[in-house]
Symmetry: C2
Subunit: 388 residues, 2 copies
């Protein structure tokens, strides 16, 4: 059992009506704000007005950077950082989902350095400081609102790279489940698949760690499985949206990780897919995860699948282990493809096998994925093939 | 469902061998340290030497305040604060259990004000700042290492009072399960009862909140129930000590509370017992909790006991609800009195009913306890009677 450092300093205002504290929290951190948002849905649903009213009420000067795309581009980071430098901005306020927040984090870091921000990703350039980031979350998915990571895409090199660094941790996040009411059925499903994948990537691990954390991961997975269909049937169900939203933050803020050192498997494979085909991250994860499970299930890993099947899906523990394991994969497939209604194959979304060799090489960074089971490029290629 | 603010900024170094980071963390916060500890067990087991070696290695000046008693006294707080003022100390380092940490927190606050520290408790005097507190935990119990509360006893008025305030939150805590190996069987049992009570006080609540948090509380309770007997049989079992230790922090750091507003019940009743008879807090809680459960179980509350019985003790959900409820109380009694081996009654530890009327009045602060079920002084008196 490894030791670990637990350090999640983000303060979270959770619930409806908390936005009244936004101006006060921002003015603790600075006076000149960069407001970052996405494609404009916050203008339709009134959140843009609520946020800017708060800023004006507190006499805060703000500049805007809208139009952050899903799988946010390094170009947006460059643009935001240039604006921060030119206008001497001192706080970044992200209003949106994971893409907006990830872009905001790297804008905050890029505003503090003289080099091109893609070097943070491609060369692991030093990331020692960043402007403070405050977020108002609008979708339960990436958990970026409470972690120190971010994913940025460079379409000119077909790369989608992720990096964690403490200065990227948001200072304050506002989580109002009502702000997720207007998220579409498809995006809700993809966000839910992303949350589930974050837990699965940590849970499937053969190195013993704190059993307490396994129990908590099982609780989180059961929460997601319980409330996802409620949200899809009744998008304005506060209780269901609230449970999904808070589970989404705790799936990836570092708590469940404990001392586990293992690399993730499905995320690097998915990042190659969405870097090349620009598909929704959660959809890619949903398609990949059950195939990765099938590929990694064997005598040496079956016990983890049995634990998963018994504790999360209440499969009878008296059945033969391999039967429980296979049934658990069937159940999680059913969750992704039936409950969430996501596409079952890459073929269905128009992706063929022409790029699998290249993607497999890139997912392995020219080496291998040291995840739940070590995957070499030829393994990753087979998993991609199983998805088509 | 109420909103809430989540804010747990304590950084935790968890695991064996983390003490090498103590000096670096302290020197970020100050240069002149007050080292606070208890009855000297840390001198016997070598922890005192490890800690002071770290301080010397980093060239930190330190002063000592040893001899903090269980149920720490306001006199120790006065003494520590006076030393801080006289020697211009800037960080408090608590090495010990909940009593040492609670004393350290109030020393840290009292060092910043001109009035007598008992006014923090008796008059809710303003508590706006405190010196930074760093802890090295030696027993899994109160959770003080990761929360902003502390309990101080004034024997001259027979009062034991608790208060939470953000400046009391430790900045950094070191949790090494090996530092709990030498905790006696009795103190381990009492600490475990305290952890269990912290979860029960929050879990037993009829106002709906995030179901996700109920699931996590059930996981935490199952963790405690699973590992407590392992620790008692094998005190140097790292895995079991580690699970108990981390569960103890998460039982009370604020996470499981969510938006629940309800006051606690058994803690105020127990504080009167230990204020008057100086018994161990966890023992008092173990004796009180099952009687409080019996007293509060009725048609309106049975559903919570059913959830508890089914999800924590795996009692068959098909049984009649009241039967499940009563069986769940029998099981938790068995845990406290059989598994942990704690005394079953107040009578067994020499406490009679001569003070129950007075204690009931004080537990209700002359009014009532607005807990799981509202308890008036006559209710509390009956619960004390059931314990004798």
């Amino acid at each position: 059992m490894n030791g670990f450092v637990y350090d999640i300093p983000t303060k979270v205002y959770f619930g409806s009506g908390q936005l009244q504290h936004l101006g006060m929290e921002l003015s603790r951190l600075g006076k000149r704000i960069l407001l970052v948002y996405g494609g404009g849905s916050i203008k339709k649903n009134g959140l843009y007005d609520s946020v800017t009213w708060e800023l004006k009420r507190m006499g805060l000067m703000f500049f805007e950077l809208g139009g952050i795309a899903p799988n946010p581009r390094v170009e947006s980071v460059r643009e935001g950082a240039a604006l921060c430098k030119k206008e001497k901005l001192d706080v970044i306020l992200a209003v949106g989902g994971g893409s907006v927040i990830d872009a905001a984090k790297y804008i905050a870091a890029a505003a503090c350095v003289d080099f091109d921000p893609w070097k943070f990703m491609s060369e692991q350039a030093p990331l020692k400081e960043a402007l403070p980031v405050v977020t108002v979350l609008t979708i339960a998915a990436t958990g970026s609102e409470m972690d120190s990571g971010g994913v940025i895409t460079n379409l000119s090199t077909n790369e989608k790279l992720c990096r964690f660094a403490p200065p990227l941790q948001p200072q304050v996040s506002f989580l109002d489940p009502k702000n997720t009411y207007s998220v579409s059925r498809y995006q809700t499903a993809c966000g839910t698949a992303d949350i589930m994948s974050h837990i699965i990537e940590v849970y499937f691990n053969m190195t013993p760690d704190l059993q307490m954390l396994d129990g908590i991961m099982e609780s989180l997975m059961k929460t997601v499985i319980c409330y996802a269909p409620v949200v899809l049937a009744d998008p304005e169900n506060y209780e269901a949206r609230a449970n999904l939203m808070w589970a989404g933050s705790w799936a990836i803020n570092g708590f469940i990780k404990g001392g586990k050192q293992q690399a993730w498997s499905c995320h690097p494979m998915e990042h190659e897919l969405s870097a090349l085909y620009d598909i929704t991250h959660g959809l890619g994860l949903a398609i990949l995860t059950p195939r990765w499970m099938e590929y990694t299930l064997d005598e040496t890993t079956a016990s983890k699948f049995v634990q998963f099947g018994v504790n999360v899906f209440s499969i009878h523990p008296g059945l033969p282990p391999m039967e429980i394991a296979m049934e658990s994969i069937r159940r999680i497939s059913e969750f992704f493809f039936h409950t969430l209604g996501l596409n079952r194959t890459l073929g269905e979304i128009g992706i063929d096998d022409s790029q699998v060799t290249l993607m497999a090489q890139k997912a392995c960074r020219g080496d291998r994925i040291l995840g739940f089971k070590t995957l070499y490029p030829q393994d990753v290629e087979k998993i991609y093939q199983m998805c088509i």
